[in-house]
Amino acid sequence: MATLSPTSFTKNFNSSVDFPITSFQTFAIFGPKLKTEQTHFRLSTSFKTGSCLELKAMKEPPGLTQKLDKNRLDGLTESENGCDLFQDLKHRFLRFKKHKFEENLGHFQNLAEGQAPKFMIIACADSRVCPSVILGFQPGEAFMVRNVANLVPPFESGPSETNAALEFAVNSLKVENILVIGHSRCGGIRALMSMQDEVDSSFIRSWVIVGKNARLNTKSAASHLGFDQQCRHCEKESVDHSLLNLLTYPWIEQKVAKGELSVHGGYYDFVDCTFEKWTLDYKGSNLGKNSRLPVKNRFYWC
């Protein structure tokens, strides 16, 4: 196999953006041997004298404002100081290492050889809804995708990070269950419901438009409700549409029809601490464009 020399790598670096030379400082290695290493990595790119980074003021997308309470929640790190932050991250890892990794060493050694999760989870990136916390998934149990508003784009929309993960989970890891989890007060769904027809150049709009059918259904079914209730309706409707979008992938549809793969929807309400769960009841029949999602085993836990 031909190898590229470092010089040709520098020239061929595929970047459409000029950005400054950067340096990386390895801060610490956390583990049995605590030592600090100082290494510098120079990423050489083309550099124009006098160039400047173009900074564009971002217009805040509609429907996304939240009242930023200046009396912020204090996390475990009270200081904004970098050193304190790094120390905090270090101690968090060492806690995990001591209380979980070393106490279950055999299990983690097995996991290091390979993973065989039974679940693939698609959840929102929202900091309040990590499935490892709310559903207690332990290392090795759940292959997880997290994006804004836990959306699954359909097959025909082309490659994306979400369907790359689906392809890996279903065809390589051969998970037995896919669970799409929506949640209350979702900022992404609120953005979807707030979208006006005018051109909006935000990324958020470009992404949440994946859920446009859920918005359409919500507007027709729940227009008599207040906006907050409509958003809540859309949060659940969007999960259903993601489940339908899962079936647009032939290799998912085949496995679901054969009973080798189960597809579930979930909804976590963090206001009341409740969890709803339902399972797609698909037996290989074609779903009409406007047909309701056939479901079974609907549970509501509170």
């Binding site: 190898t3 590229l4 020399s5 470092p6 790598f9 970047s15 400054p20 030379i21 950067t22 990386f24 390895t26 801060f27 610490a28 583990g31 120079r42 971002m58 805040e60 009242k67 309470d69 912020r72 996390g75 932050l85 790094f86 991250l89 890892f93 995990f96 070393e102 990136a125 929202d126 900091s127 309040r128 809804v129 990590c130 709310i134 207690g136 998934f137 149990e141 997880m144 995708v145 997290r146 994006n147 994306s160 990070e161 790359a164 392809e167 890996f168 989970a169 065809n171 390589s172 037995e176 990324f203 958020i204 949440v208 189960s262 579930h264 601490c273 969890f275 769960k277 549970f299 836990w301």
Partner: protein, 251 residues
């Protein structure tokens, strides 16, 4: 951990409830759980156990925290981590609810700014930086990453292409090229390890192509960090990304 026994014990606490209907339902649930065939994996019961454990041991024990979180989130971190089931940052870095806005994808990649191709990642960055005003972005790579291995081995190994995986992992091509150039004589496993780390550095560079990240860095309101979790040896590395100009030459 949410075990069957813990779930049953947790439910038994509700039996003192004065509501007969609720008590009857709880007793029915307990009986159902006790009759579980422990050899057969039941995904529904697994989810129920996990949720009950969270509700009883976390949510109900910290009502003020969860009441505040219900009103909004103010995470200090935007985290990019791999979808791998073994590397959830809520475990390895003990992130609690409200602390980290978390994106998980194959090989924890951040592509360069592209509104058409990579709107999902862009939406997460835009929301976290512009709306939530996170102060730190942390990209965490890990050992034995299947996505990086795919990047390093395909298409040279003549394996059947994956429609979506291959298109996604090729974001990391510059990292692969660099690793092959510097470490091409090492065994594949070592090259993959180098690429896992190189890809984190590439993602940190790519973050700078987003205008709101550029602005945050320029205003010193944003910090970029890279992490590497080695679950073979139980280690974690952290590095801080410091964009800086180095004068190269004058004529």
């Amino acid at each position: 951990m949410g075990s069957l026994e813990e779930a049953i014990e947790g439910l038994k606490k509700f039996l003192s409830n004065k509501d007969d209907v609720a008590v009857a339902q709880i007793e029915k649930l307990i009986t159902g759980l006790q009759e579980t065939d422990l050899n057969e994996f039941d995904p529904v019961k697994r989810i129920l156990e996990g949720f009950q454990h969270f509700k009883i041991n976390k949510f109900d024990k910290h009502p003020e925290l969860y009441e505040k979180l219900a009103e909004g989130q103010w995470p200090k971190f935007l985290v990019f981590a791999c979808s791998d089931s073994r590397v959830c940052p809520s475990h390895i870095l003990d992130f609690q609810p409200g602390e980290a806005f978390m994106v998980r994808n194959i090989a924890n990649m951040v592509p360069a700014f592209d509104k058409l191709k990579y709107s999902g990642v862009g939406a997460a960055i835009e929301y976290a930086v512009s709306v939530l005003e996170v102060q730190n972005i942390l990209v965490i790579g890990h050992s034995r990453c299947g996505g990086i291995k795919r990047l390093m081995t395909h298409p040279e190994d003549n394996s059947t292409p994956f429609d979506f995986i291959d298109e996604w992992v090729k974001i990391g091509l510059p990292a692969k090229v660099k690793v092959q150039a510097e470490f091409g004589d090492l065994p594949l496993e070592d090259q993959c390890k180098h690429c896992e780390k190189e890809s984190v550095k590439l993602s940190l560079c790519n973050l700078q192509t987003y205008p709101y990240v550029q602005m945050g860095l320029a205003n010193k309101k944003l910090r970029l960090m890279g992490g590497y979790y080695d679950f073979v040896h139980g280690k974690f590395e952290l590095l801080e990304f410091e964009p800086c100009f180095h004068h190269l030459f004058s004529t």
